[in-house]
């Protein structure tokens, strides 16, 4: 304790074979390809930059309006607009490498084969550090959540990707199920290095004047501080269920919220919606975590992770 108060706190954490300098990552789809923010944010200071979901091919996504604000949250149905894995590698990855970002790619697919193919291509590219498997996007009909809502589908996608890559793989779980922990177990059994959660909650907002949904796709995914208490619960449950690290997210707006997820069981956290509100949030959160550890005399984040005492008051 005594010395821990003085020494600079080591914020590094491990996700499979990858060690990241601090536990704070951008959430996929909320930070573009990272390069959009390079003028304001030193990308190398993030634990990792998780880029927008990529299929094999380009996709144009849904028409606008794609988002609507709700109390302390927002619903989005972007429809996974993206430039596809090949253009990502040629157009974005070089700049990300140059800026020394730790890059995690959010991998999408409409079939198990597409997940494997995109993962294989990314594994051969220089500068990709881990793969997050998006089996939980509520906004596209084909693929995505159809795997994430079935234990078998989750297992199939993870095993198929496991065969083609030695990069850490992090299946991203949906909160729209009765028992997320069972999906974490299925992912672990299939060879995942970690799981991340939560993706967004399937939600609907209706304009009462037109009696139509407020976003073009009808339903969308709810994110932001509104969902945080449910996400923290699910992260806790998953942490109890598996040995692999859990990457937690859902409504993190500041260091306190990030610490809450870590205490619940998250080895690392992702920040999505909050980046829209405050693009300079990264330093605030990372330094806030450091200050907290120093103030409490905790030498490494490991001692914090999952340390919640659920015993009755």
């Amino acid at each position: 304790m005594g010395t821990g108060q003085q020494a600079p706190v080591d914020l590094s954490v491990r996700i499979g074979s990858l060690t990241i300098a601090n536990p704070v990552m951008s959430a996929s789809g909320c930070f573009g390809y990272g390069v959009e923010y390079a003028g304001m944010v030193d990308l190398s200071t993030l634990g990792a930059v998780v880029v927008k979901g990529l299929f094999l091919k380009e996709r144009e996504g849904h028409p606008a309006p794609r988002i609507v604000e709700t109390p302390a949250g927002m619903i989005n149905a972007i429809g996974l607009q993206g430039i596809g894995v090949h253009r990502f590698i040629s157009e974005k990855l070089p700049e990300l490498r140059e800026r020394r970002a730790t890059v995690v790619v959010n991998v999408c697919g409409t079939t198990v084969d597409e997940y494997a193919e995109v993962s294989r291509i990314l594994s051969d590219a220089e500068g990709v550090h881990a793969l997050e498997l998006n089996i939980s996007c509520p906004n596209i009909k084909e693929g995505g959540i159809q795997f994430g809502c079935s234990l078998g589908g989750t297992h199939d996608v993870v095993s198929a990707v496991r065969k083609v890559t030695s990069l850490p793989i992090i299946p991203k779980l949906t909160p729209n199920v009765t028992d997320p922990a069972s999906f974490a177990r299925a992912a672990e059994a299939a060879g995942a290095d970690a799981v991340s959660l939560v993706n967004t909650f399937l939600a609907l907002a209706i304009d009462i004047e037109s009696r139509r949904p407020k976003i073009s796709n009808g339903m969308g995914g709810l994110s932001g501080p509104a969902i945080r208490p449910i996400a923290v619960r699910m992260v806790y449950e998953c942490r109890q269920a598996v040995k692999i690290p859990v990457v937690g997210m859902g409504g993190i707006m500041n260091a306190r919220d990030a610490l809450e997820f870590m205490i619940a069981g998250a080895t690392a956290v992702q920040v999505g919606t909050a980046n829209f509100v405050d693009p300079l949030i990264w330093n605030t959160i990372v330094s806030g975590i450091g200050d907290y550890l120093t103030r409490h005399g905790i030498k490494s984040v490991d001692a914090l992770i999952g340390s919640v005492d659920m015993g009755k008051h």
């Binding site: 789809g29 909320c30 930070f31 573009g32 959009e36 923010y37 003028g39 304001m40 927008k52 144009e60 996504g61 028409p63 606008a64 309006p65 794609r66 988002i67 609507v68 604000e69 109390p71 302390a72 949250g73 927002m74 989005n76 972007i78 607009q81 932001g224 501080p225 509104a226 707006m253 919606t273 980046n275 829209f276 509100v277 405050d278 693009p279 300079l280």
Partner: protein, 270 residues
């Protein structure tokens, strides 16, 4: 590079029961902003409302020596955040991120610059008009509103030397009807060898009509589009506009970083 500034409200002028001009102390942003750019403003503390909202830079405020000290927003109250901005008091702090987005392309004489504004679409026209006039461009503003008392800042534009063509929906000022009618007549009257560039900002229907009219007369036209924006920085992909692709079809561009000013001829209008 955009700046994120905790801007102090220095003045709040109510123009009507739903329009106001909010002056913010944000010198860095004001210094860097060019016509057509916007800022993302967080009107509330707390998480409801949660997201920032986009507003065009209206005026650049300057001190006696001409140095930019801040900027103002022309705001029309339509919902919760614009309601908070209407009620903001001098001394309040408002987070303001900018300048953001692609500006207007400024023409040079002998081309004329014709600006088309509907309602609160006047906002980006102030700095645009200043910049065009400064380059010696002859300018006209086609400006439409619901009623005469919603045609704001006419004296400013007159003093600057901008010719004004005004319309109101109820006929209480200028010509009755939409601004497209006099615009069409003026384009029809203009000889083909006298170049003119169009700049439009206002409701989507007005932009589409302006784009159609400009195309019909073979005149270049830029429009400043308004989409619901989550971030203003290219991060969320919420603000897309369908643009024509080579070889047919369309592709979505993010209007916060590829726009808000876009070439009207390239947009796929519904």
């Amino acid at each position: 590079m955009p700046f994120d500034v905790a801007a102090t409200v220095v003045a709040n002028l109510a123009l009507s029961h739903d329009y106001n001009v909010l002056a913010l102390d944000a010198p860095q942003i004001a210094e860097a902003a060019i016509p057509g750019q916007f800022v993302m403003v967080k009107a509330a503390t707390g998480h409801d409302p949660l997201l920032r909202r986009p507003f065009s830079v209206f005026e650049i405020l300057r001190d006696a020596s001409g140095r930019a000290t801040g900027l103002s927003l022309l705001v029309k109250r339509i919902g919760v955040s614009t309601g908070l901005l209407y009620d903001a008091k001098p001394g309040d702090t408002i987070m303001c991120l900018g300048p953001l987005g692609q500006p207007f392309t400024l023409v040079d004489a002998p081309a004329d610059g014709w600006m088309v504004a509907g309602g609160v679409g006047l906002a980006p026209v102030w700095t645009l008009a200043e910049a065009l006039v400064a380059r010696g461009v002859t300018t006209t503003l086609f400006y439409g509103a619901r009623r005469n008392d919603e045609l704001f800042y006419l004296d400013f534009f007159r003093t600057l030397g901008v010719e004004l063509v005004l319309t109101t929906e109820d006929g209480s000022g200028g010509e009755q009807g939409r601004v497209i009618a006099p615009l069409e007549r003026a384009l029809a009257a203009r000889p083909a060898d006298q170049p003119v560039s169009l700049y439009a900002c206002g409701p989507e229907g007005m932009l589409a009509a302006t784009a159609r009219t400009a195309a019909a007369f073979g005149r270049p036209c830029e429009v400043s589009v308004e989409r619901i924006m989550g971030c203003g920085m290219g991060g969320c992909y919420s603000c897309v506009v369908p643009m024509k692709s080579e070889g047919g079809g369309f592709h979505h561009v993010r209007s916060c970083i590829a726009g808000p000013v876009l070439d009207a001829a390239q947009i796929v209008w519904d």
